[in-house]
Amino acid sequence: MSPAPRDRFLEDAAAATADDPQRGFLRGALGGYYASRDVQKARYRDWEKARDAAALAKWTAVNRLDRNLARFEEAFVRNGGVVHWARDAAEARAIILGICREAGARSVIKSKCMTTEEIHLNDALEAEGFGVVESDLGEFIQQLRKEPPFHFVFPCMHLRRDAISELFGKHLGTPPTDSPEELTMIARRHLRDLYLRADIGISGANFLVAETGQVSITENEGNARLTCALPRVHIALAGIEKVIERLDDLAVLLPMLATAGAGQPMTCYNTLYAGPRRAGEADGPEAFHVVLLDNRRTALLADPEQRDALHCIRCGACLNVCPIFKNIGGFAYGTTYQGPIGSVITPHLRGLRNWNHLSGASSLCGACTEACPVRIDLHHHLLRNRRNAVRAHGGWADRLFHRAFGWVIARPRLFSLGGRLFRAALPVLRRLPLPYLRPWLRTRTLPEAAEPSFRQQAKEVLR
């Protein structure tokens, strides 16, 4: 049996944190992002208010989700597309496999889509004998390495160029190089032929426009454009929360997605697809399918306190600024969605009991909340997950401790007495083994009590 997620997390996080060179490398790779993000943010006439507008666009969309999805479906069908609904991952896989079989397909080209990672689509396609190739450079590299993405926007940001050169040498037989440009060109040449031959293109969706029935896809490389242009069938897999109400909401969301997540004014290609090739158009697929996936998103929707986590536009900004992510990296999370947003939503998608530990792995600094372009209350949600976990699964000791602590701090005299006792006991405590605190104390020592105490100092100042 594989170890429990929490145990594996503790082990992997400890190992990643001990790897100083790798942490330094990650920080270096993010340095350029901070600089360009700040340059781009400065071009906004009011970034904070622009975040308000973006938050409202998603808030109205999600809080009228049933209506918006029905509108999207109607408009998408009017455009000539086919809509499928999937309650869970197995249903989504079955639908996609069915479309591939029916099309008599053999090869599938994919553009980057985290939702397909969520449902483990590649394994299912390969098990049925379809050839599947990831076309986003980072995803292509991760596929060759048989490794999940390290970061849901920058899939291979943990790798150095020599590792990639070696990987290409091994799988594609190319000579070693230390030029990122040459490495990119190797992938370009290799994949071009695959686009031209693929029967099916599978993409994700960044937004589904309810008003017009369009699927909006954001990318930098052009691989998604090719995926949606050349194969004869296009399938887009989308979480139900991707729907937005109006086409012109994109005038706000597209630039903010690019600036927050990658420090760009706009991502290179933002493309809206309304149905398959139309009469009079030169090319495009014969059929266009959208698969709308629930997979427990409705469980998150049912929690009004944390519903705004469904506003997420997967920009990746919260990962890029997170001190935990920067130290433990993406793999330790063990989730499809890493970083703060992953810690918030994974307990809803995969169960609080096994995934609440991620909410504990936070300094609650709030950097994520501040970075989020759609104003998701991320760090407070981590606290709410902790509270919910204690409510649902807390042991009696936890409950008793919190109950007693709450009772004491509501009584100033008692609290002050407790403080005095604790100060007196500290010198002794510092010498005891304290097994309960051992994991925490491994890298820390108990502090010495300040003299005079904070309360006494405060009294002085206030007098």
């Binding site: 049933d66 999805l69 499928h84």
Partner: protein, 226 residues
């Protein structure tokens, strides 16, 4: 309809019976759609035509796309011919249209129209694709292309160089204006693809170092008439 659909819509309706609080905002946002009220807070789009052109030029430069401004169509044709000669193009693909056909006339290389369907390998082997566009966006340096008016989906992405020819009047201030303009032009029947292109194809996947020409065109040239 399918059972899955009914179940999911049922779960959503059930979930939404409890209202969520409004998000914590930094200000009192005035009434109106996010795009309309947000316009004033996004990057600027230029106050007048000169301002828009200056912004567009600056933004395209930062994106490492080139902008050539020419007075008229013959000058645009000459600019394209120069590009073709400098780079030694053998074949250029284009779509039918007043602007593209005029500009491609008399090129020192073979030209080929893709409108009636095309062989993918042949298009891949072309040195450049020439298209018109729906509009250009000063705010971001983007171009908007469509499958209806700009030769389908592949022409602007598969060849190694993309050249766009447009008129000065097509330069709009911002994304909102570009979307509104496309809707006004196509009415109820939106093209099957409508795409913003913001600079040549790029990636930062290897050590976050910028490389141009990841899968799409390595070069993007805009020839602006007027």
């Amino acid at each position: 309809m399918s059972a899955a659909r009914e179940t999911i819509l049922g779960r959503i309706a059930e979930a939404l019976r409890l209202a969520a609080p409004r998000p914590h905002l930094s200000s009192d946002v005035p009434a109106g759609t996010p795009a309309k009220v947000g316009k004033a807070w996004l990057p600027e789009g230029g106050d007048d035509e000169e301002g828009r052109l200056a912004l567009l030029e600056a933004n395209l430069g930062k994106l490492r796309a080139s902008l050539v401004r020419v007075p008229d169509a013959p000058a645009a044709a000459a600019a394209l011919a120069r590009l073709a000669a400098e780079r030694g193009w053998k074949r250029l693909a284009l779509h039918r249209g007043e602007l593209t056909e005029t500009v491609a006339r008399g090129l020192p290389c073979e030209t080929w129209c893709v409108d009636d369907g095309f062989d993918k390998d042949r298009l891949e082997a072309c040195d450049a694709g020439l298209t018109a566009c729906e509009s250009l966006v000063a705010q971001t340096g983007s171009l908007l292309v469509s499958s209806a008016s700009n030769g389908g989906r592949a022409l602007s992405i598969l060849p190694h160089v993309h050249v766009v020819v447009a008129r000065r009047q097509q330069v709009l201030p911002d994304l909102e204006a570009a979307l509104a303009d496309a809707r006004a032009r196509h009415g109820g029947a939106l093209p099957s693809m409508l795409g913003f292109i913001t600079g040549p194809s790029r990636t930062g996947d290897i050590e976050r170092i910028l490389v141009l020409g990841a899968h799409g065109p390595k070069e993007l040239h805009v020839i602006l008439i007027g």
